[in-house]
């Protein structure tokens, strides 16, 4: 059992999340498996991350609480739809692997992180990087509280030092 994934999932549950749209990634695998196993969360595997963000925006407009889970590379696709969401005050809650500044293991993740940070910084989106030893469940619950009440999108980055990866089989 991944302690970080379990805590983040507990935070999603505490936030009342009822839909999880995700594109599979090793860095989020343990978390999405927990969402898949949760009978109170409907999961949809999207084909592109920006598509998932558009779906989550539609879900919010119609009264649902959705999270989009992806590798941070997907944010690189999503500038236009995230900008539209900001324009019309339709928030999207994104959990993205990587995106921090420490603990990276592979050079090919540098490009996705650059793109993700560019989108987040360029659109002035609220964002946080989860840290080791935090109470992730409470952080996630409070993060979504801001998303819902401010009606602003937020990206929560989950660097590789968190054990949110899917266990090797």
């Amino acid at each position: 059992m991944s302690a970080s994934a379990a805590a983040i999932h507990a935070g999603l549950v505490a936030a009342g999340i009822d839909f999880c749209i995700y594109l599979p990634d090793s860095g989020t695998g343990a978390l999405t498996e927990l969402c898949e196993a949760d009978p109170n969360i409907t999961t949809i595997v999207c084909a592109r991350e920006d598509e998932g963000i558009a779906m989550a925006a539609g879900l919010f407009v119609a009264g649902r609480r959705a999270v989009v889970i992806m590798e941070c590379s997907g944010l690189g696709y999503a500038g236009l739809i995230l900008a539209r969401c900001k324009l019309q005050r339709t928030p999207v809650f994104v959990l993205a692997s990587h995106g921090g500044t420490i603990g990276e293991q592979f050079d090919y993740h540098a490009g996705p992180i650059m793109a993700a940070r560019g989108i987040v910084d360029g659109l002035h989106l609220d964002n946080i990087v989860l840290q080791p030893g935090e109470l992730h469940d409470e952080t996630i619950r409070l993060a979504f509280q801001t998303v819902e009440n401010h009606r602003t999108s937020m990206v929560v980055f989950m660097p590789p030092y968190l054990d949110t990866h899917r266990a090797a089989r």
Binding site: E51, M55, V61, R64, L80
Partner: protein, 204 residues
């Protein structure tokens, strides 16, 4: 069939459905002809169908209709695959297939080229053949939309339309609400279940 015929058919069979319209001329026509509060206008290129899909997922008790353009549909084509994999009964996708980008002089062809090609892609994604249609006749489109109210979808209707002057930039009718106003009206309507009333200074 003209673009206006497509819009007229959707409005005629809409009842209380939520409608999402992609960016361009169709949005202005819907706004002018049927300013229903549960309407999202000018959704950015490539995302109208995915956005509508989210609304349909959220509210299985209500129908959702998206009017997408063929260029926009192809820009967000992966949504057809996701929709086939995780289908919803209450979503109808209407594609205005005029074969051109509705910008500039309106004479540059869109990538899919034809409504038949878009329909073939939808079927190849896994949508049942009896839920994917191509028509160039307004009466057929309206009959299909009426059927979609009675039988579970998702439905994909590729409406072959003629090119018109409204396909050019600057010639298209404008939506009377901005993006925030329309999204807020839709949000409030869907969450309350009752019409929020006309947009005024006090509730804008």
């Amino acid at each position: 069939m003209q673009r206006g015929d497509v819009v007229d058919a959707v409005i005629a069979e809409r009842d209380d459905a939520t409608v999402v319209v992609s960016v361009g001329a169709s949005s202005g026509l819907v706004s002018a002809k049927d300013p229903h509060p549960a309407t999202i206008y000018n959704m950015v290129l490539g995302y109208a169908t995915a956005f509508a899909y989210g609304i349909a997922l959220a509210r299985p008790d209500r129908r959702t209709i998206v009017i997408d353009g063929d260029g926009s549909m192809f820009a967000g084509i992966q949504a057809l695959g996701t929709l086939a994999r995780f289908p919803v009964d209450n979503l109808t996708v209407v594609v205005v297939a005029n074969g051109i980008w509705g910008t500039g002089d309106g004479n540059i062809a869109t990538t899919p080229g034809s409504a038949e090609q878009l329909a073939a892609i939808a079927r190849a994604c896994g949508h049942p053949g009896d839920r994917v249609f191509v028509t160039a006749k307004a009466a057929e489109l309206r009959a299909l939309l009426a059927r979609a109210k009675r039988e579970p979808g998702p439905w994909i209707a590729c409406a072959v339309t003629e090119r018109s002057s409204t396909d050019r930039s600057g010639a298209r009718p404008r939506v009377q609400l901005d993006s925030l106003e329309a999204a807020d009206l839709t949000r409030r309507y869907l969450r309350s279940g009752t019409p929020p009333g006309p947009l005024t200074a006090s509730n804008a």
